[in-house]
Symmetry: C2
Subunit: 135 residues, 2 copies
DNA sequence: TTTTAAGTCTATTAACTTGGTAGGGAATTT
DNA sequence: AAATTCCCTACCAAGTTAATAGACTTAAAA
């Protein structure tokens, strides 16, 4: 399941997508409009900035804004940043791969199945962007 | 991600699938062969019994065994029992549905997307059984 | 140049979840 | 009756999540 943090992130990004190219938006404004705890939201936006999804401006007239075209930001990318792996097992994760202990990937029945599930999910998540979320 | 408990469950079920119709198998045997902490495994098997995936026999010659044909036990069912929801959001879960607070499902962009992802995953998980995991 | 308005950063905390343990109790077979 | 095996309840430590606090930095405006 997506964490609450992830849901907050998507709500904030939705808000910023609606205001793309309209200048910086205050954290406090997003917090109020989307009912996200202010300080928690700060952390989330900062993280998204470090990953270059968002950019920001300090001081008066400052705020956060999308660093790129919302049609270029994949949903999968956001999930990986704020929620972690999309795969159901570490041993089939593309970006967070970890070998299974006590389990030979060659003859693990779950392994192949979970690759299928991963690919089915990614087929969708890698092909949808922030723009699609807004519609 | 699937919890360690879920991975243990699948390993145990794999073992029991190989021994389907061959009489009860000791918890301690599964524990040893599959390297699963004994007491933890007890809890898992008991839970699977309560959900009628497994059955058991007490006393000498006792143990656990599959309650039905492994070809009839869906992977999705097991995941729901030991891991919980398959969907990425409570508001799109079929078996663990919960309404989103502060989010109108009608106009939530994530909602529709997550339904797609759910259906893609279920398309696989509802059509694979314990038997498929073994081969 | 001072003030004010922002975002930045580090640390802390409370609640919850996960993984694992302990120790009898109950049923069944011999 | 004794041995064997699952059943059940409770507990605990560690980690994660959600949220908060407060001081710091940068930038614009007065």
């Amino acid at each position: 399941m997506l964490s609450k943090k992830s849901q907050y992130a998507f709500k904030a990004l939705e808000y910023l997508t609606e205001r793309y190219k309209q200048g910086p938006v205050l954290i406090s404004e997003i917090s109020k409009k989307k009912k996200i705890p202010l300080k928690f939201l700060e952390n989330i936006l900062l993280e998204l900035k470090k990953e270059e999804i968002l950019d920001s401006k300090k001081g008066k007239g400052g705020g956060y804004f999308l660093a790129k075209d919302p049609a270029k930001v994949k949903v999968a990318t956001i999930i990986r940043i704020v929620n972690g792996p999309i795969a159901m097992l570490p041993c089939v994760s593309l970006y967070f791969y970890e070998r299974c202990k006590n389990c030979d990937e060659k003859k693990c029945g779950l392994h192949d199945l979970m690759i299928e599930v991963r690919d089915a999910s990614l087929g969708i998540l890698e092909n949808r962007t922030l723009k699609d979320l807004a519609h």
